[in-house]
Amino acid sequence: MTLPPTETWLPVAWYAVIAFGVMMYVLLDGFVLGLGILAPFAEDEDQLDHMMNTAAPIWDGNETWLVLGGAGLLAAFPKVYALVLSALYLPVLLMLIALVFRGVAFEFRFKAKTLRRAWGIAFWLGSVFAAFAQGVILGAIVEGMPLQEGKYVGGAFGWFSPFSMLTGLSVMSGYALLGATWLILKTDGGTQRVARTLARPLTLNVFGFIGLVSAWLPFLDSRIMARWFEGGRFLWLFPVPLLVLAVTWALWRAVPRGDREARPFVLSLCLFLLGFVGLLLGMWPNIVPPSMTIWDAAAPPETQGFALAGLVVLLPAILGYTWWSYSVFKGKVAADAGYH
């Protein structure tokens, strides 16, 4: 067996790395953004403390995945980096500013006395805007980016469409579901009761959004889902929607159960994972629909190879440590724990 040439497999390797980074970011930061979105449902400041304390030990490093994704994209797929970030200028910058705002508000709320409420509101607003902007970015990419001679021709508000607004709301409600099920896992008492009350409506919500987005996909110009029905593909792709149905059903049943508190959170993560996998399968081998493939967009092998060398050395260590820090901090957070 002969190995494929480097210019064939390096872009695939980098695509896998960046998809993995984005997935890590979405799974790890998604539930913390969800906590922020759910902040107004906290019955008082103490309950918000309790909610935020569940995420306190682990959340900040999550943003580093995003920074790594940005730098990795510049090194491995400079064309995508240049095209997507400039074409989606406003939603990208809105997301970044909201993340900065939320990050600092999270820390300073714990340190503030008189301005505690104000920092709490900042935390909520930052989370809402960041989540919505991420959904809009996703929607705009899925919808496809019209190019002429390699340049984007959609204009400053090319990302603004009914579809991208729908995906914005979908991602928000998805994160809120992650946040609620995370709270079922990590808290007890009043906070857990609030989370349980929210989790079932949120499940329905998310299922409805998945249905709407899926129904819309075949009608988009990018024809992202058309390939689902080409040739024999459907045979090995159709388990994805079936699994979504099964997971949603299991989630609906798991929420009220007192004996399996981790299950709703794990099932919500599965929903995200399925959505992500379905999307990548629909887009492959395009990195920016409707026509830019990963090989069109890839940096030359000497660049991808050099950057990958550092990644191969350092990434396992980073992953190992992330895993370790999660295992150290597992377990319930009591209502009175937290910053002093």
Binding site: Y81, A82, V100, A317, Y339
Partner: protein
């Protein structure tokens, strides 16, 4: 009024990076300072070293956290506003930037955690090792980011294929001609910035009669360090200038306000003050000292350097900002030199640490507390504005580098940045000042993760001091200032 997206993008980039650079520049010096403090503590077992370590570690943690937060924006700015630059030069600078992120990420994930929260959990030697690795990590980050910047100033090891840069020799890319000079100048600047913060804080304590023992010790170290490193930095800056003259002569001409050749044999005067007039290609209200610029730049009395008018007007940088920023940087450098030499002399006479006899020198230190930050910003403005009108020097013009976004969109994002940054970093800087005002505390318990509420991934969680309530009582002042009262 029409909104120029190019100009607004430049302002936005300058604004965002100016805020960002303050924090890493400070933490580069602080990390090495912490390694020094811990080394002294382990060697002497004098508890004051440990108290100082815990005090400065809190300041380090908050600064590092602010640096991480403001850095999120940095890794996306090239794509949002400078997409053509990213597309054309991403093949070369992309890997350098990802190495920087990987280093920072790796350090954050491992040694920073042990350093910030592990004092009670690991052996003293392992903890000291972690501190040293954090110090090394900040320097490695500086290495990569400075390399990427230097490549854009003095590109090497590349070829251009279909209008896109490709790396042909990574060694030549990384160690491009201006890199060793820029790296040295930047690292020394970061060290001096931290040195003057430490000295300034100490002088403030002495003037207020607080933390006398700690302040005396820190001021001694600042004076000693400054007396060696300020002259070194002036020397390194001179070498960096000569390197710039070789590779970017128009930057030097703008720094010197040198518009055209004088008569043969007359040399180049040093323009002490002037208001450069770009349109008329001359200096207004100039005060010149004959031949001094020749002496500095060519080490001869009648040497010449290429004047601004030797290239067409559209290849010249904007002269006034480069000219003034350079004078601010050099002025601060000279003020630092005078202050450390004067302090060293007073120290020798045994008068430096007495708030009544050395009042003016201590006030000088207090006034110079933040001078390093101003000098770093001024220096960056010299090198970045002086590189104009190019992003990749001589090869890619700034006007051809920016994204096709509308001026209104950039104006909007710039306004939001301004509001959010003032709130966010205003609060951060306020919090740092509050930690400084409280000062070192005797026998403070070293920080711990408190059963997982705090974490290395969140350096900002380290200090427990409140953000907006009054400063708590001051135990160290009571013990150390006891002798003075």
């Amino acid at each position: 009024m029409s909104l120029d997206p190019l100009l607004l993008s430049r302002i936005q980039f300058g604004f965002v990076i100016s805020f960002h650079i303050l924090f890493p520049a400070f933490t580069i010096g602080l990390a090495s300072w912490l390694a020094f403090l811990e080394w002294r503590w382990l060697r002497t077992r004098d508890a004051l070293w440990r108290d100082l370590y815990v005090f400065w570690m809190k300041i380090f943690a908050v600064s590092f956290g602010m640096g991480v937060v403001s850095g999120i924006v940095m890794s996306f700015q090239f794509g949002t506003n400078w997409s053509v630059l990213s597309e054309k030069a991403g093949n070369v600078i992309g890997p350098l930037l990802s190495y920087e992120v990987l280093t920072a990420f790796f350090m954050e994930a491992t040694f920073l955690g042990v350093m910030l929260f592990g004092m009670k959990r690991v052996s003293e030697k392992l903890h000291f090792f972690a501190t040293c690795m954090v110090a090394l990590g900040t320097l490695i980050s500086t290495f990569w980011i400075t390399s990427a910047n230097s490549w854009m100033q003095t590109p090497a090891g590349y070829e251009i294929v279909d209008g896109v840069f490709r790396a042909s020799d990574w060694w030549a890319v990384i160690f491009n001609p201006s890199f060793p000079y820029r790296l040295t100048h930047m690292v020394l600047a970061a060290f001096l910035t931290t040195c003057f913060v430490i000295g300034g804080v100490s002088a403030t304590y002495l003037l207020r009669g607080r933390h006398i023992e700690a302040a005396t010790r820190m001021l001694k170290l600042s004076v000693a360090f400054g007396a060696v490193v300020v002259p070194l930095q002036i020397f390194a800056g001179d070498l960096h200038g000569l390197n710039t003259l070789e590779h970017q002569p128009m930057k030097i001409a703008a720094m010197e306000g040198h518009w055209r050749d004088g008569a043969p044999g007359e040399g180049v005067p040093l323009v002490a003050f002037a208001i450069p007039n770009q349109a008329a290609e001359r200096n207004d209200y100039a005060i010149e000292i004959p031949r001094v610029a020749s002496l500095i730049l060519t080490h001869s009395l009648d040497g010449t350097i290429p004047p601004l008018t030797s290239v067409p007007a559209d290849q010249r940088p904007p002269v006034a900002p480069v000219f003034f920023a350079f004078r601010i940087m050099v002025g601060i450098g000279m003020a630092m030199l005078v202050l450390v030499l004067l302090s060293a002399w007073m120290w020798k006479r045994g008068r430096l640490f007495d708030a009544t006899r050395a009042r003016w020198v201590l006030r000088g230190w207090r006034a110079m507390t933040l001078s390093g930050f101003v000098a770093i910003l001024a220096g960056w403005y010299v090198t970045e504005i002086g590189r104009q009108p190019y992003t990749v020097y001589g090869l890619l013009r700034t006007a051809d580098s920016n994204s096709a976004v509308s001026g209104a969109a950039v104006a909007f994002s710039l306004a939001v940045f301004a509001v959010v940054y003032v709130c966010v970093f205003g609060a951060g800087i306020w919090y740092l000042l509050k930690l400084v005002r409280k000062g070192p505390q005797a026998h403070e318990t070293p920080p711990d993760t408190d059963d997982g509420e705090k974490t290395p991934a969140r350096p900002l969680s380290l200090p427990d001091e409140t953000l907006d309530a009054p400063v708590a009582s001051n135990s160290h002042a009571a013990t150390t200032a006891g002798g003075a009262t």
